[in-house]
């Protein structure tokens, strides 16, 4: 174990404590917009990863903190549940290759042919983490979780534009077709999947979530701000 493992573990432990201590208040960035009856605290955040190793977790936690920094708009990515969402998706059917055709022959394709590797999405995600950490070591002598926010941001840019090549596969496919979609899904999927905690991203943009009926609203709020978006309703609210 090298020193960066230790420091990233320490950092993760700090984040977890922050989640637990912060409680509901930080999970709702616009509490003033909620109806009075909606002040019930968000359920306690689940702790622990199913499929990430400590090193992988450190990478993903650093990633979501760069892509979703704590600011006036939302808590940081970890507190929003984004790393947790990715872990659960990769540990579950999606990560194991559900709905993915996985018979040979395996031929190289162009990006427009879509994913063509025998690796499951979970394996590909993790192989990408390894390669990304190596690229960071080469560029900064530190692994991704140890980079400053600016350095990490620039590395992500380089992965996404394809400026950097991983030894065996393209970083741009890894980032753009796997990591980035998981990130936006983590932000905007129903909170039941573990991301978008407290419906924070739905509140942010004004998405009402799961309206049961909208027939009259369609006319009444055409061209007007829609009050039903505050607070939004999720699967849990109907369960």
């Amino acid at each position: 174990m090298n020193s960066s493992d230790v420091s990233s573990r320490g950092r993760r432990a700090f984040f977890r404590t922050a989640v637990l201590a912060a409680g509901a208040a930080t999970l709702n960035p616009t509490p003033s917009q909620g109806a009075p009856g909606d002040a019930t605290p968000a359920p306690a955040a689940p702790v622990g990863y199913l499929c990430f190793s400590p090193d992988e977790a450190a990478f993903v936690e650093a990633l979501v903190e760069v892509m979703c920094p704590a600011d006036d708009l939302t808590p940081g990515g970890i507190d929003c549940g984004l790393a947790y969402f990715m872990d659960r998706q990769l540990a579950g059917p999606f990560g194991k290759g559900d709905r993915l055709y996985r018979r040979g022959p395996w031929r190289p394709g162009r990006p427009e042919d879509g994913y063509q590797l025998p690796l499951t999405p979970e394996q590909f995600f993790k192989a990408g983490i390894k390669a990304a950490n190596q690229a960071c070591l080469a560029a900064h002598r530190r692994q991704f979780p140890e980079l400053t926010a600016e350095e990490a941001d620039r590395m992500l840019q380089a992965f996404s534009t394809g400026d950097l090549k991983a030894p065996v596969f393209g970083f741009s496919e890894w980032f753009n077709d796997l990591v980035y979609p998981l990130f936006t899904q983590a932000c905007f999927a129903d909170p039941i999947y573990g991301g978008n905690r407290g419906k924070v991203f739905w509140s942010l943009i004004g998405y009402p979530g799961l309206p049961a009926v909208n027939g009259l609203n369609m006319v009444k709020y055409r061209g007007k701000p829609y009050p039903g978006a505050h607070p939004p309703k999720s699967i849990e609210d109907f369960s």
Binding site: V66, R99, L100
Partner: protein
Amino acid sequence: MGSSRMKILPERAVVIVGGGLAAGLVARQLVRQGIDTLVLERGGDSRGGAESKIPSQRDELRWDTRHGLMQDGALETYTLRRSRSEASLPMRRLSAFLPGTGVGGAANHWGGQTFRWNDHNLALRTRFEQRYGRSVIPADMTLQDWGVTYVELEPYHDLFEKLFGISGKAGNLRGQIQPGGNPFEAPRQNEYPQRPLEITEAGLIFKETVEREFGFKPYPSPAANSPDPYVNPDGMRLGACQYCGHCERFICEANAKGTPEVLLYPWLEQQPKFELRRHCHVTGLDFDRSSGRVRGVQYLDLATGESFLQPGATVVLAAFTLTNTRILLSAGIGRPYDPESGTGVVGKNFCYQANSGIALFFPNRWLNPFLAAGCTGTLIDEFNDDNFDHAGLGFLGGGYIGVNVSSGRPIGQRRLPPGTPRWGTRWKQANAEWYAHTCAIGAQGSCYPHRENFLDLDPDYTDAYGQPLLRLTFDFRENELKVSAFVTEKCRQIGRAMGAAHLGPVSSRTAPFDTRLYQGSHVTGGTILGADPGTSVVSPRLQHWDAENLFVVGASVFAHNSGHNPTGPVAALALRLGDDLVRYHQKPGRLT
């Protein structure tokens, strides 16, 4: 699956392969006349399941992003190459188009835009040659007339609209142009059974702009979303649409979408002459070449693992474009198409659509994209079909243009102005700023057949049952690139005139075909109809030229794809086929 191990079942009068929209409509016409009809469907039911009930129905990640209702690509997908000189690759994650599965087929989770195609489309080659001269059609554009006229189909369009409670506004009532409707539509005998859906805010901006600035005639999208409670001629009921924004790609929780699982199969299953067998994956046809007859249908019962031969006096393929073609190819019925010589027919004229769109941003207008139904669209046909002069343009075809607002689902339907960072605080800010204030103006571009776009069986890849996958040899060719560039530029001009503060990238459909991007599920051709047995698979009455008791229905029979959604003509052809099969049952022979 050696046929020696296949159990042979008692013969049925009509056996239909696939239990989707077309199958349900054919079956309806047959069982009304008391004719024994069996449908074999590979999937199960969605009624009453998590996909149809609140709150699980409103789960974007599960049903939309992860394609929870569609064909499982791990079991069966398609391979693609863009030219004959390339090796094919499987579409390992089905994304560009999404075939359905289960009782009701893709039409359970369709959007519901329901068009009639006019005589121009049904006699495309003749019409173009008459207007522009014979040389206008490039040698590699294998356009063919359908051998069917709109007048023959009109009563069946009318019936389908009544069965599915289609909403809309007539534009041409018995030859009289109607204000508020589409003046380019073919003449209809009757108004739509239901009033149009409510217009969206984005639709209003579009409508006002194209009327004022261009003098175009916008019309509400015809819709299988029921604006009011509705009872169809069979006594089947639709609820009122709730504009919930979870329509296309979803099962309607309010029973307000015209779908086979609501309107056809529950009724059919009450009829004594009807049987639906679920979880029956059809693997082939038993064809007797010497007599030119199909003996029956081979299938694998997914619930028991047993293989069966189901004999049928009449056999109908209604298993969507791709399975229809694949089954004919694997059964060796009809000559496979050979692009080298341009001869053969099965697999020929595979078409897609050249769809495109531009995001529009209106900082001061509340567009509320989540207040929407599958078909809350406002459209124009000025640049569709041959409604504009193609002389000197260098392409044939066009598309409808309009503003379809069908959802504000935030994973897939957020739009951000160009130049927005892809993450970070400014990304979040932009999402908050723009989410309720954007829409897209889009075009549904036609796709005409090309000599090198075709279907055959892949030599290397197989499905979970060990059968060859269907191979697509396809790319967008010069004509479609030009069509898309033309209609997308019209979108840009209209978008500008609408007063959008920002426009997204003006990206028309380009080559190479990108299998990662959803571009609509409207794939057509492969078993095309026509009056000449040398250039078509089935007759204009959908009877196979080489197997008298075999019929094929669905968009696989389309000789080309147009700038309108395909399901209206699929439905009209299916209802007409049902009536034809009643005649055939009474007096077998070649139908004329």
